[in-house]
């Protein structure tokens, strides 16, 4: 090495400090990508906007007697559903990077093994917050009555925590699948039924017994109830507790699996 102007790192960089800085650098890359391709944010906003308008103005009257009443009920559920759908993009992004050889470069660098995956998850939280803002903004325009501003901020935080955890499911798929399309198929096959068999859109009391049994434990039910509680009406503490419990359980199982699959890719 020449005694040049800028010294390169001379040793392996383990430890929490450097790892955090590497995750932030990875996240910075994702932010710059959005800066260069702002249409991605429009793209992200289209489906939640459409879902909100369709659900409220098409189903609203029949579901709750009036569209305004259904809006009070469904906005929290739609926000929860959208957050779960959004995590899919974490997996497709990682899958694309893996196939394009970008991760080969990362893996040849003296950085923490987890930094590329964690950085991507972390950056995608920006998209989560963006989507909450869009949906809540549109909801307010449509006449949604917000329980409190503090509740809205707390709801966004809870959503981010939950999304951070379940993103690992998507990462696992992104690492294992051999194409982006497959990640999308897996994701839809899981996410669609999962979000519909919950309290996100309808009161689960109207479901048949076996479905109720499932819907009551479905993590989406707890997340949707927590969102509804914080934004609109209903209990807060219990759904919050269950939401965090589910997030912890999903994280504990899928994060190690995803990291193992990622390391296996190096065979």
């Amino acid at each position: 090495m020449t005694a040049a102007t800028i010294t390169a790192p001379a040793t392996v960089r383990p430890g929490i400090g450097p790892t955090v800085s590497q995750i932030l650098s990875m996240a910075w890359r994702q932010m710059v990508r959005i800066k260069h391709n702002p249409f991605e944010l429009v793209d992200l906003s289209l489906s939640p906007v459409m879902f909100l308008l369709l659900f409220v103005y098409v189903f609203g009257g029949q579901m709750a007697g009036s569209t305004s009443e259904y809006l009070q009920y469904v906005l929290g559920g739609l926000i929860a559903q959208n957050a779960i759908f959004l995590t899919m993009y974490t997996g497709t992004g990682i899958n694309a990077d893996l196939r394009k050889g970008v991760y080969d470069r990362f893996r040849s660098l003296p950085i923490a093994r987890s930094a590329p995956l964690a950085g991507k998850i972390f950056a995608d939280m920006f998209k989560q917050v963006w989507s909450v803002v869009i949906m809540l903004g549109l909801g307010l325009l449509m006449g949604f009555e917000l329980r409190s501003v503090a509740g809205a901020i707390l709801a966004a935080l809870v959503l981010v925590v939950f999304a951070l955890a379940i993103s690992w499911v998507s990462v696992l798929m992104g690492v294992v699948a051999d194409s982006e399309e497959k990640v999308q198929i897996y994701a839809f096959v899981i996410i669609m039924p999962l979000t519909f068999t919950s309290s996100a859109f309808v009161d689960i009391d109207t479901m048949p017994g076996f479905m109720q049994a499932w819907a009551k434990v479905n993590p989406v039910t707890h997340l949707a109830d927590a969102m509804r509680g914080l934004l609109s009406y209903g209990p807060i503490a219990e759904p919050l507790l269950w939401t965090f419990a589910w997030a912890a359980a999903i994280l504990a199982i899928t994060a190690p699996l995803a990291m193992r699959a990622y390391k296996r890719k190096m065979v």
């Binding site: 390169a8 392996v12 450097p18 710059v32 990508r33 260069h36 893996l98 470069r105 040849s108 294992v176």
Partner: protein, 326 residues
Amino acid sequence: MSQDNAIETEGLTKRFGDLIAVDHIDLTARAGTVFGVLGPNGAGKTTMVRMLATLSQPTAGTARVGGFDIVRDAGAVRNLIGLTGQFAGIDELLTGEENLRFIGRLLGMPTKDARARARELLAEFDLSDAADKAAKTYSGGMRRRLDLAASLVGRPRILFLDEPTTGLDPRARGELWGLVRGLVADGTTVLLTTQYLEEADQLAHEIAVIDRGKVIATGTPTQLKAKIGGQSLRIQPEDHEQLDIVRLIVSTRFPDLDPVVENGAITIGVNDDGIMPALAADLRDRGVALTEFHLGLSSLDEVFLTLTGRRAEPETEDEPIEEEAK
């Protein structure tokens, strides 16, 4: 391990199920030199580089890079190396400058230093004008240069270049060769894989020819060319009918050589370009008018024909890394 050796492998082997992609490879690359690994697609070049760059672990055998074991001291190896793969590891949405700055930040450089290093490399690689354009707008040659620059951000002592010029036009290839020479002049050790004999000849101090995962010949370019008939002479008569006369003249003068007749021309492998005047005189005396009388470097195909007795069949894919890794 000797201080002079940047890369040493002993019995390095990689299996993917039944396929032995890399088969007991022993090689030694001296520090500060270019070591060329020459072979056709599917020979195991990429698999070998991936192991040496700590992206994948050997099934058997050992290797040391910069004195560190690639498995036990993988972290230490990563501190020393740079890698430019066949598929560019750059982000197409980011500008050239952002791509380099990103790597600098990942390596823990303060923002200011990362920015300075990026600008320095862009200037060095003649990319300053395109610094703030998205990498997706770059030409093939520019992309490879940016990719090479990205592997140099941390000033690696040992650089792996996996087919750095595949798919580039001759001009872009020449530019990249110049950059590699500059790096070696500054003391970097380079391990270069290539499908082009000319590239290995131009850059490498030492070459290992590999085929089906095995080393089938090693030596300096000069030694190798002496062994395989480094040059080929192509003779094409104006009149197709005279091809037989040409063949007769060639085989009379060089009974040991085995001329290949193809597309109305005769090709022979030669080590000594001193034969050209004599041959030209013979042909003139027999009244053969020529459209081509050309001495060129043997192609990889000819090298393989000599070393293995068969042609280097270009396979569509290199090693099936992703599929087999599951």
